[in-house]
Amino acid sequence: MSEQAHATTGTYLRVAAILVMITLIEVGIFYVPTFQTVLVPVLLFLSAVKFTLVVMFYMHLKFDNRFFAFLFGGPLLLGVAVVVSLLFIFYGAVRLRAGS
């Protein structure tokens, strides 16, 4: 194993607690009408935080050789780019043609 430091059980439990709290916040925001306008960016941000926590700590990427982060990060960015570009192609054009 090539990890330098190692997360402890305590860290794992703390991460779990944060994940649960964020999920509760997400669900909360979903139900509170005041937040409807900022719903999408906030939810995307919060789920990105959860994603990062699981990948960094549970999948150990924070402590492992940086190459693994590259192996995963590259295709991950590509996957996100695929989603964003398809969304833009199918909807961006519509918004632009509508003269916004």
Binding site: G74, L86, A93, L96
Partner: protein
């Protein structure tokens, strides 16, 4: 025989890939010859029906891309890469064998469609795929393609995709993790670099077509409407998903051949590759940009001015790293002590033909001119200049270069030169006129054309050229075959190459290297300014080298896949369970097999 079925030796797997792929290449070539025979004359030609013609061009494209060009490259990945990096085998030898068997079975499944008609109650023998190698929706919907043809296509491609993905993971790990001591990344042979880049393209692009094919399968088998307009589906989504795969795919097809050229030119110029680092980085940039251009296949679908401009821009950009490589290859030859072996001739031919293909490509990049060119024979000219003039000439260069290493026998140089010149004349005669017939308005994928179009002369020329290619290929085939009756006399380094594969006997012993060398330069076997050539490796290993035995499980697991495909295409549920069981049992036995290292 059994040893071939259970082999996990990368060298044997490489040879298996070579002969299987060459066989499919001949089949694909035969399909092309029938197409050309039909198109030699206008107004009905030979009388080949439209349906037959659709099957021919679909199978020609699908076969050449997936069953010939990719696996021929894979033959070299398999045989040569471990040798070039100083390893005894790939990272996962059984997974390697699995990839081969899946490829073979996928190719057989796809071609079985030619004789499967009676099994489906068709009124003809052949129900081969007939919707083009790119299967555009909604022609491929159940409504417009009711027969099993498209099912053979999508299921066959899914099987082949698994083979490619598995190999992708295998070679990435092999190249990164199994290099000999001292073999730093920027000391890797260029062919190994291009292969590494190609495998990253494979593992990112193939999942996209996997999803596209799954969606198509659900439309055809379960009645969803992903690509069916009546249900709200958008056929353009298919095009996006397909070309998001399809464009990286063409770089998957060309980068290995570019890697081969980057090996052959230095050896026969007795000069190092000019601008090695730049060539490597250009490969990386091509792969990266290759992901940004896909909709240049869709300029005529009404994307809108912004999308059109963006994709035209990125497509023009990608010409830059490509051009850089071409200048570096010319720079390699320039001032070198050139030996005009057949291998070198094919490499030089590659440069010239690829430039022509690249130029027509640049004209495609401009969306306005592409609107004139798209779906005409101008595109057929472009793709064949880059794929035949590029990839295939590059592969031939590689075959003449590495045949001695792979088989221990030399190919005949005189026959090789006949092969080369016939090929050059044939391919230019076949494909150059297509630029003109295309611009004069001859559409693609038509089974005949009117004499009023005025392209009959061009078509006749193309047909003659195609048959010349066929003749050249027969000469080549004979050249390969006759070496079987020759003794194994090729030296370790018949060409005076610089890289590690030339440091060991031809063919290599099963363990490759008696002692794993330590590498100190990019060209270990050459004298350079800073390094003496690597000392010769001992003739015998200092201690017995244990080589892992073979395994049945890769092949057995692979068999489960066509069983699943047959189950799907014949709508036989029990067979699904049989296929799944074969795969699952195969995987478990594979996983629990004692791993010998």
């Amino acid at each position: 025989m059994k040893s071939w079925l259970t082999t996990t030796d990368h060298k044997r797997i490489g040879l298996l890939y070579f002969w299987t792929a060459f066989g499919f290449f001949l089949i694909g070539g035969l399909e092309a010859l029938i197409i050309r025979a039909q198109l030699a004359r206008p107004d009905g030609g030979l009388g080949v029906s439209a349906e037959t013609f659709n099957q021919l061009f679909t199978m020609h494209g699908t076969t050449m891309v997936f069953l010939a060009l990719m696996p021929l490259s894979a033959a070299f990945f398999n045989f040569i890469i471990p040798l070039q990096i100083g390893a005894r085998d790939v990272a996962f030898p059984r997974l390697n064998a699995f990839s081969y068997w899946v490829f073979l079975l996928g190719g057989l499944f796809l071609n079985a469609s030619f004789i499967a008609g009676p099994l489906f109650g068709a009124d003809r023998l052949s129900v081969a795929p007939d919707a083009g190698w790119f299967g555009y929706a909604n022609l491929t919907s159940r409504q417009f393609s009711p027969g099993p043809n498209v099912d053979f296509w999508l299921l066959g491609l899914q099987i082949l995709g698994i083979a490619s993905l598995a190999a992708g993971f295998n070679f990435i790990v092999t190249i990164l993790n199994m290099r000999a001591p001292g073999m730093r990344m920027l000391r890797l042979p260029p062919f190994t670099w291009m292969t590494l880049i190609t495998q990253f393209l494979v593992i990112t692009a193939f999942p996209v077509i996997t999803v596209a094919l799954v969606l198509l399968m659900f439309d055809r088998f379960f009645g969803t409407h992903f690509f069916v307009p009546q249900g709200g589906g958008d056929p353009i989504l298919w095009q996006h998903l397909f070309w998001m795969f399809g464009h990286p795919e063409v770089y998957i097809l060309i980068l290995p051949a570019m890697g081969i050229i980057s090996e052959v030119l230095p050896t026969f110029s007795k000069k190092p590759l000019f601008g090695y680092t730049v060539v490597v980085y250009s490969g990386v940039v091509i792969a990266f940009l290759g992901w940004s251009v896909w909709s240049h296949h869709m300029f005529s679908t009404g994307l809108g001015p912004i999308a059109d401009s963006v994709f035209a821009g990125t497509t023009m950009l990608i010409a830059i790293p490509t051009g850089v490589k071409i200048f570096n290859w010319i720079g390699t030859l320039w001032g070198g002590q050139i030996r005009f072996t057949t291998s070198l001739l094919f490499a030089v031919g590659f440069i010239a033909m690829f430039i022509i293909g690249g130029l027509s490509g640049v004209s495609h990049a401009a969306a306005p001119s592409d609107l004139q060119q798209t779906d005409t024979y101008y595109v057929v000219a472009h793709i064949h200049y880059v794929l035949f003039g590029g990839t295939i000439l590059g592969l031939f260069a590689g075959i003449y270069y590495w045949w001695p290493k792979m088989t221990g026998r030399m190919l005949s140089e005189p026959l090789g030169k006949v092969h080369f010149w016939l090929t050059m004349i044939g391919m230019n005669l076949a494909f150059f006129p297509m630029h003109f017939s295309g611009l004069l308005g001859m559409p693609r994928r038509i089974y005949t054309y009117s004499s009023d179009l005025g392209v009959a002369g061009f078509n006749l020329a193309s047909t003659i050229g195609a048959f010349l290619i066929g003749l050249a290929t027969l000469v080549f085939f004979w050249n390969l075959l006759r070496t079987r009756w020759h003794p194994i006399t090729a030296p370790s380094n018949p060409w005076g190459g610089a890289t590690l594969e030339w440091a060991i006997p031809s063919p290599p012993p099963v363990y490759n290297f008696t002692v794993i060398p330590t590498v100190e330069s990019r060209m270990p076997l050459w004298q350079t300014e800073r390094h003496a050539p690597m000392p010769a490796l001992p003739e015998r290993p200092p201690a017995p080298i244990h080589v892992p035995g073979g395994s049945w499980w890769p092949m057995i697991t692979a068999i489960g896949l066509p069983i699943l495909a047959i189950a799907a295409i014949s709508r036989t549920l029990p067979l699904v369970f049989v296929g799944a069981a074969v795969v699952i049992v195969g995987i478990y036995r594979w996983a629990y097999e004692p791993v010998e290292m």
